[in-house]
Symmetry: C2
Subunit: 199 residues, 2 copies
């Protein structure tokens, strides 16, 4: 435990530094944000940002590239605000474990067309390409095309790309990258997926 | 790009392994979850989980220990579901940069009393102690008491503790720990906090 005087001095100094940092920040722009890494919270944090944006009365578009990324739980709440969020689940269409790779590529393309449509429409304040990193990982979409599409967003449109194994070039292009690290996971201890936590 | 045959074989093998893993998981229990690390998304992912749980028609209690952790944006959406979420902002009470450490400890105590009340009430499916790690870091609450309070939760109650610098003992006690790592942050490039992203 620190002394009162030390504590006070430290907090005062911190506030001066913080005020200076905040004053130096003047740029407003649409950010390209990436949530990657093996840990939980990549999609959940993106959907939390969607809620935040919706609360400001601004529309969010969500394209879900992998089945189940948007859960029943979230969908019920989002469905209560049809003017503020458009949700496109594409993941149901993926076959993954069949020989039909061409079909999976077509599904990825369809999802990407939705993302591009939303990005091109400035009425969307934020566009979430959920689990698009997985699709890129499987070479279902050309990385260059996706990077160009993200770069072509209107000046004030925020884009969020999620999924583990974000490509290096996407990380390089992004304004903000968070790596969700898995320190501990209950699945390892035999705990099953539960309502309100995983779905 | 992999060959079709390689792709198919790999996906089939992956599915067998995944099915085996899922079948082995039979335990349902209230989890102690920790979101820590210097990156963004700790509170946002917790609030995303709250949305998920609310969508299942189950009540969430949120105690916010630090001012601004729950933003105006999220509050608007949460306020639309008064039966499904109780939100207690305590952070306004903290002085931080004054000599009034005793008062800050009292505010922390008040917040902790709310967390304990919610945990003791099984009508809450999930209790979020948002930024409690900060409060623990400043020694505003005794760690042992907080750990005991979390451990005393009903069998099916989920608890989420957020904030950077989670104490080692809390990480050891948790079922699930995600470390949000900051790979890149736009504040470093002069970009200011924006509606729908930071607040």
């Amino acid at each position: 435990m620190r002394s009162e005087a030390e504590h006070t001095a430290r907090m005062a100094k911190k506030k001066v530094v913080q005020d200076k940092i905040v004053a130096a920040k003047t740029i407003e722009k649409g950010l390209l944000m990436v949530h990657t890494g093996p840990g939980k919270g990549k999609t959940t944090a993106a959907l939390g940002m969607a809620v935040r944006m919706m609360g400001h009365g601004r529309k969010v578009g969500i394209v879900q590239f992998v089945k189940g990324a948007m859960t029943t739980g979230e969908k019920v709440i989002f469905d209560a605000f049809p003017d503020l969020v458009e949700f496109k689940p594409m993941g149901e269409g993926f076959t993954w474990d069949t020989q039909d790779r061409a079909r999976d590529i077509a599904v990825a393309r369809e999802g990407w067309d939705e993302v591009r449509r939303m990005i091109a429409d400035p009425s969307y304040a934020m566009v979430i390409a959920d689990e698009i990193n997985i699709v890129l990982r499987y070479d279902y979409l050309p990385l260059d095309e996706v990077l160009a599409g993200f770069a072509a967003r209107p000046a004030m449109t925020h884009v969020v790309a999620t999924g583990r194994n974000a490509p290096e070039a996407l990380i390089a292009a992004a304004d903000l990258v968070t790596e969700m690290g898995q320190v501990k996971h209950p699945f390892r201890g035999g705990v099953k997926a539960q309502a309100g936590v995983e779905f």
